[in-house]
Symmetry: D2
Subunit: 365 residues, 4 copies
Amino acid sequence: MAGNSFGQLFRITTFGESHGVAIGVIIDGCPAQLDIDLEFIQSELDKRRPGQSKITTQRKESDTVQILSGVFEGKSTGTPIALLIPNEDQRSKDYGHNVDVYRPSHADYVYDAKYGIRDHRGGGRSSARETAARVAAGAVAKLFLKQQGIEIFAHVTAVGTIEAPNLESNDLKALLTIREENIVRCADPATAHEMIDFIDSVRKDGDTVGGKISCIVKGCPAGLGEPVFDKLHADLGKAMLSINAVHGFEYGSGFAGSELRGSEHNDIPQPKAADAKVFKTITNHAGGILGGISNGMDITFKVAFKPVATIMHNQQTINAAGEAAEIKGKGRHDPCVVPRAVVIVEAMAALVLADQFLRNKASIV
Amino acid sequence: MAGNSFGQLFRITTFGESHGVAIGVIIDGCPAQLDIDLEFIQSELDKRRPGQSKITTQRKESDTVQILSGVFEGKSTGTPIALLIPNEDQRSKDYGHNVDVYRPSHADYVYDAKYGIRDHRGGGRSSARETAARVAAGAVAKLFLKQQGIEIFAHVTAVGTIEAPNLESNDLKALLTIREENIVRCADPATAHEMIDFIDSVRKDGDTVGGKISCIVKGCPAGLGEPVFDKLHADLGKAMLSINAVHGFEYGSGFAGSELRGSEHNDIPQPKAADAKVFKTITNHAGGILGGISNGMDITFKVAFKPVATIMHNQQTINAAGEAAEIKGKGRHDPCVVPRAVVIVEAMAALVLADQFLRNKASIV
Amino acid sequence: MAGNSFGQLFRITTFGESHGVAIGVIIDGCPAQLDIDLEFIQSELDKRRPGQSKITTQRKESDTVQILSGVFEGKSTGTPIALLIPNEDQRSKDYGHNVDVYRPSHADYVYDAKYGIRDHRGGGRSSARETAARVAAGAVAKLFLKQQGIEIFAHVTAVGTIEAPNLESNDLKALLTIREENIVRCADPATAHEMIDFIDSVRKDGDTVGGKISCIVKGCPAGLGEPVFDKLHADLGKAMLSINAVHGFEYGSGFAGSELRGSEHNDIPQPKAADAKVFKTITNHAGGILGGISNGMDITFKVAFKPVATIMHNQQTINAAGEAAEIKGKGRHDPCVVPRAVVIVEAMAALVLADQFLRNKASIV
Amino acid sequence: MAGNSFGQLFRITTFGESHGVAIGVIIDGCPAQLDIDLEFIQSELDKRRPGQSKITTQRKESDTVQILSGVFEGKSTGTPIALLIPNEDQRSKDYGHNVDVYRPSHADYVYDAKYGIRDHRGGGRSSARETAARVAAGAVAKLFLKQQGIEIFAHVTAVGTIEAPNLESNDLKALLTIREENIVRCADPATAHEMIDFIDSVRKDGDTVGGKISCIVKGCPAGLGEPVFDKLHADLGKAMLSINAVHGFEYGSGFAGSELRGSEHNDIPQPKAADAKVFKTITNHAGGILGGISNGMDITFKVAFKPVATIMHNQQTINAAGEAAEIKGKGRHDPCVVPRAVVIVEAMAALVLADQFLRNKASIV
């Protein structure tokens, strides 16, 4: 109820503060007999890890994950899987100046307002460090989905006003290779180059910039999603909006679709070939979801991230007494959050899909 | 779990099909001793009611609401409030042609895929008729919020590519009056005029068009929202995305904010005057929410609706056997959904805020 | 959260007060394509109905149930099934004397303490009339379980100190016939006769008496129940304890089992015959449940009901101001609640089993 | 949903297997600003710890608890409190003989039936070792309740057929001292002596024996509990029945109350003295709960534990293939579970009360 859990049947609960002992997650509801590939979980965490390139924060965390429970001889047992990631590089002294001063566009003030107490070290629970726990849990969800033939791929499609062209390939494996060959995680190499240069210049300015991540899901069967409040895209939207710095979500035709006429927007179903198993439409403005339920086509959505609030400039602000104060960003921060957020977007999508996959098993008996 | 409930402490469960006996809602968790103003609930329903103007569907439903329980001598008792809205004008014969043919961009196919059975009359449970139950429940939530000094105002800010200018006034009561003086529910009279003409011409073409609704919340105290998964804007986003035809949600600076730099986007807090009670920033890119928690400023968000799928044109499609078929929209449908959706957006926002208001009471004891 | 819902995947939410317009229930999560036999639902309600014999309350309610949604052409569609039971015989004037006086051992005082407001007519929401909604929903759960080969049978095994001998037959259908042939619903005709005479004499004294109901479930497959908090017997226990007047629950060997030694209590598994499909133990102290999970043997439990609080004697009490007052029971009440509660026990058991059946489908994929 | 969480607003999720790396718990929803007394938490764990006396298992575990998150400078911050208890003495080789043989009256078979895989070392997740996590979380709940003036006291009232007389004192602090002066944790020293001798003789026989624990809650305000399904005693019942080996629960008059007449059972309210603040009845058959809601009187309930299944005798059983097999208990086990279970009963009661305390805050606003 205090909102540190996500999902119903495939349910995670995260804990931990940025500069505490450790962060971690309990996965409750992972089906039994799933192969739990620890190397894969670690490789996912490595994609979110700080300090991985010149355009990410220089905080040093190996983010080494340990399995505490729920796995026996390499397989899930149906009991809770607890994953622990110890914190290593907690330079809390960087944050001494935040005790009484509210950083602009940070959550400092609201935590004080809500709880009357605040772990001010590195943002405490409001730090995006919490998302490492999500990535670990999301990796387990991905292992489950892979078993069901469902694949997820996200990449950076905008940094500031630099936008990537639409993907031409449908081969997620090949796209993944291209994406991981550049540090901004855009699957279009030319745009990636431009984005990296731009982020680097922003960083040198002591500034930050926002961006967008697009995601595609392939192999999702028809029938996932519940029809009224827990529509598949509503759950995906909530999942994405719960990621730090996200300010917008759209799926399928999205905001642009609201400018169209029905005659332009409708996706026309194609007659099935004799041997076809799936529903196909000529266009996919629906983003693979009709009435909140997957229709078997590719699921597509886009997520908008605001610029990171910590900048290396002097800024006016107030202290806890409401008096004028000045602050200058210290600590180690990302100039742009999207390169590290790609795997978070994928993790949250995986968690939603694994959950709705299990929920759908109760639709017909 | 089957997703017909929304909210945790202020929780609703809706039921009913478009052409069944009745639709309705149970509100579980409305605090005791609240004055339940039945006239107000009815007046909210009247704003969503079909047949209210030339630019809405001509289906005739009085949408008269009855209270079945939970209210004693005009006040809530703390027990479940059940609200019933009988269906009156079920012209089911209009839908005989849908039994075997899947309407393009409708949910017909996915219901068959998920459940293997489908109430094909008027879309059954996938019909936006379900939202009448939400509006009734949302009206009760509004009564609760009003008691706490929280007000919600939404209006149409785009139809197709016609966009309304930003609001100049802050007086929600005055804006409401202006909004209700035009049938498209835009608080800018000049734009409203243009929108109405456009919708009317689209309607005459037998076509439909999408649009956008913007919403503002005033008087929300700081502290609402839970910090990780149940961030206030994540719950608002899920609420909006669960409304039929919604394809996008953004709050505060939204998608445009992702193009900015941190130095442009950060909202600078203003020193408090000696007698001030609230946190104030010069700009409000945060949309009144920091780290998922309300900061006391205005909460702002925008919702994108795709065009209605039912058009009065011949369309290619397939039948349940996967064979080519042709369909022409009959029945009575809206050329543009946003005028009637304004009160649905407000209702869902009210439900989120009432829920988070109650949840916040457990933060400190 | 306000506690008017029960179950997770097969989930019900009830509403309604004793002397309001109607009571009812929404079933959310009933799988699609189930035959919904309205006659069966009504026949279950008839077993709980007031006024059915000389040893039950004389309140006249036909308890006629209507289906408002979720059923199409006789089958469940996967959408919420709303069931409505209008109240007919609300002799509220019988309760005028309760406005300010707290009836001993009734919930009047605590509702005032909790909510500061109370629908005093017939106990409002605290009346056992609410259980009619549970019986209706439980009947749907029974239809689902029957499809899976699971049968539930409860009967009265004690009234006051009169105890029925253990069942000799295993034929639930035959036992049901015997049970329904006597108005106290005990499957042992000789004891039934004795019980009826005793209740009748208690009734003539203007008094009431408690009793016990035993329940057996046959055909339950191994694997139902979740291992830690949602053990099958913990969910059954909560279900039973949520029924009005219940003061105790035990399963398998129960309280008596706590007096035994392990060497006496352990159930010894029998080697499987070549063609056997199920686990069998010589004794069944486990009551069909090990570690919270069904083992395929008969599930057995017992429920204790206190005597009805409303008696036709003068009683001392207090009024809302805390002053001494005197009260004499009026209204129409049961001298002993167990004959009508048999079908409530079965209904709640059915709801638990249907829920855990669906939950178990996510254990292995 | 997989049932490793308990509570709604004060919610815990446990993880860990008997012979895994560690066990632990996340508390989500502990209000901010509570003093978290680590010494107290540890002292509670010490009461459940194995190896504490000659009548408990000789497994050596220090059960040292670590706080991983949610506490800052000694106070709760409102974020999840993660508590970790590493396993130290995992003599898994004791369990090699259980791989293929199902121990009588243990959960081995049902885990295989449910999940198709089983961590056979020491019972895995079905081991009562899981309850250490509950005790740690329950200690935090007790700290919260203490702040509200609510105290909980449980003690052993029966071992086999040896029953303790009713308590004469009302001074929980004094009773606690007496209870902790004997290793069986009975607050009546004479009976305690008899119980200890009996358990010791049973242990020497290689056998085990069941028992009962009674609990009393003082200082609980009126109004806790939700009226229909989440009645206070229903939640308490579920909590107790979820503890390993529990086979029965009763509150107030319990099973014996079902033998009484209404005229004997009704609790007569006493007029309030001018300065009295609370509701008082002459008798307390209600056990402090009316209609599922606390009335301000002492809350009383009793819990029955079956004998431990592991005995040091040869027993017939079957293997995974269903063939006859013989097993003899090895490992280190308790001859009687109740001395160590006293603090588990208190912990679960504390979790229920803390949860319902927070839930009640939403009843009136």
